[in-house]
Subunit: 387 residues, 2 copies
Amino acid sequence: MRALPQSYHTSQFLNKKSKQNVDFCEEFVREDGSATNLTGVMVSNLTLEDIAEQAGVSRSTVSRVVNDLPNVSEDVRRRVLDVIQQTGYHPNAAARTLASQRSWTLGLVLPQSVFQFFTDPYFPHLTKGIAQACNEHNYTLALFLVSSKEDEKKIFTRVTRKGLLDGVLVQSGHHGDQQIIGHLMDADIPQVVLGRPQHFDNVTFVDVDNVSGAYNAAVHLIRLGYRRIATITGPNLSAVGLDRHAGFTKALNDRGVRLDEALVVEGDFTESGGYYAMQRLLPARPEAVFVASDLMAIGAIRAVREAGLSIPSDIAFIGFDDVPLAATNDPPLTTIRQPVVQFGVRAVELLMDLIENGIHPPRHVIMDTQLIIRDSCGAIRKDLISG
Amino acid sequence: MRALPQSYHTSQFLNKKSKQNVDFCEEFVREDGSATNLTGVMVSNLTLEDIAEQAGVSRSTVSRVVNDLPNVSEDVRRRVLDVIQQTGYHPNAAARTLASQRSWTLGLVLPQSVFQFFTDPYFPHLTKGIAQACNEHNYTLALFLVSSKEDEKKIFTRVTRKGLLDGVLVQSGHHGDQQIIGHLMDADIPQVVLGRPQHFDNVTFVDVDNVSGAYNAAVHLIRLGYRRIATITGPNLSAVGLDRHAGFTKALNDRGVRLDEALVVEGDFTESGGYYAMQRLLPARPEAVFVASDLMAIGAIRAVREAGLSIPSDIAFIGFDDVPLAATNDPPLTTIRQPVVQFGVRAVELLMDLIENGIHPPRHVIMDTQLIIRDSCGAIRKDLISG
DNA sequence: TATGATTGTGGGAGCGCTCTCATGGTTCAT
DNA sequence: ATGAACCATGAGAGCGCTCCCACAATCATA
């Protein structure tokens, strides 16, 4: 067995710095410009000026080299670069931000209504896409997860503060959860909303075409011959929930399929939400269910199994999102794929454009979804029968 | 059906700002101090000085009010506060950071080896805990997801830059993925490592007791009477993987249970990794399997089901993490619970202490795990038999 | 050779705060 | 009455950059 470090046990706590300690730790500056400050933290206080002096040039020239600007002769550039290398100089981000009025930092705000289902694979996935896009363009990403009403206040003031963020991505959440958008407009901070916002149309947003996605899902079920088609919707307070519900309803209307009100149940985008919604749905004996998220679909399937029924032979399912779990679920889940990563990338690009080129009439970008046919809808069985 | 906004279709793209546009947008300053700059973005350029003037006091006094410092008379404080309210003044974060040498921002770095399984519910969960702790202490959280080697370089320079972060949380990743820790030490930036780092013992870290957690899991299986006990480990390149493997091995040794090498397979912490690992394990006919993560356990169970066997009667399972899915899995997963949120909170607290009180000998905090008994281990069945 | 454009370099004025120190007024024990 | 201590306030010097402008040196053009 691999040896563990000696200190491999809890609570090796040490002295908080005592008064005496502070008295003892006088400021002490070394020749190389580094210093030990009063708190005892070593700081390499190198500035542009220090580098300039050591390279025998001016501050301005060093700045040009650091920022890779033209009008610096090759040998000077090389000399400065050498000094920077040797000293391990890093330009100070705050000073740069203050002088240039650009922080190269974007904020991502997830409202309280999203906090609870942040563990839905959709969000980490989205975050990945956004983070990747930020890296590509040399932006830093600041994450604001609103976990409570108190958080919200703090976060609002932090986000609207000048000099911290160049722009903000706001996840559209529930109905009552969108003041942040207004706050940002008041503070004139560039923003892009992720998902259609409900109370603002004068703001740029990116969304997937939830209506047509749901529409296609429902049509798919109708084509497969199902007639008693149910849906577990997202929260009626959210735009996503409403749009997917709308698309579903429209498909049934367009195809002349009767929509029984008992076949519509509201979920909350959680696994257990899907489970309980399905339990309420079971007495109505649906043949097929369109569930507004994969995670809820997984919960719903659990409920069906518990009732001793099987999928898709007794009840067919189609989800929404195409999270990684959908493919490996038992049975593999037919679903509507969202271009999650592309979605994040597009949002970041729009935001960057807003930052660089200033205000323009708000843009609304809607991205397409894709029907992914797997086993849970019974398409394969039906194919065998009809083909 | 709910009416959709008129603009509800794809690609309403608008003019990139033309040359003409730029010429037209001359600088224009209003009386209230706000201005429309060349890029057309409205900026409320209010400064401390502006507020001071309007309130008839000095910059210093306004600063005291804003920062809630003592030595300001009540009526002056009120007057300043009024002006701030009316004007919607927000102090500039960059200026404050530059002057005070504190950014009130923490970084969270997830190395490349973690990027791929960032969608494992463990990480969003951890992120939530960290974000919450940051909010509580009025810190902003910057997220650095390393998605490629090129990203890594960019992120390293960004993270080690002074004036952006007061401190950094680094997720311990694979063996070859820990240079960032060294970089941060070189740059003298306070850091706390999440999980035991492999190449540094002079750094503060928080970890869960993976060894004893795995030990307890294995002991549980032994107590239930299983003897052919297999394990799907985490990557041998990671400390978590090694520690959980170590604890497992130790338990078997301590209890005199023979460990067949054919019963040890390396996984990669993904669902499909668990699936393939289990397929390799099946021919060795294990009675029970300890899987180093819940997500892998879910994959492994899928493989067992596909082979026509059932859980726990044919093969018993125990996972690690206790992600939300574990409880709702079919069958519900017996697992080792990590105090994820508490873990994040503790890490943030340690980091804050490091920032405020300066360097001290590194601390190593190890948190306890908890065995959560559900159905997949067969404990219930065994109880019926033996009880 | 005179003239202007172009390039490399340095100087200086901020960016909007914090923080130390000076100042004058008040309170209170001696 | 005297000075020590304590407040409330303001002035000023940075924090470490960027960016504009001045200037000299070089180059192309007439």
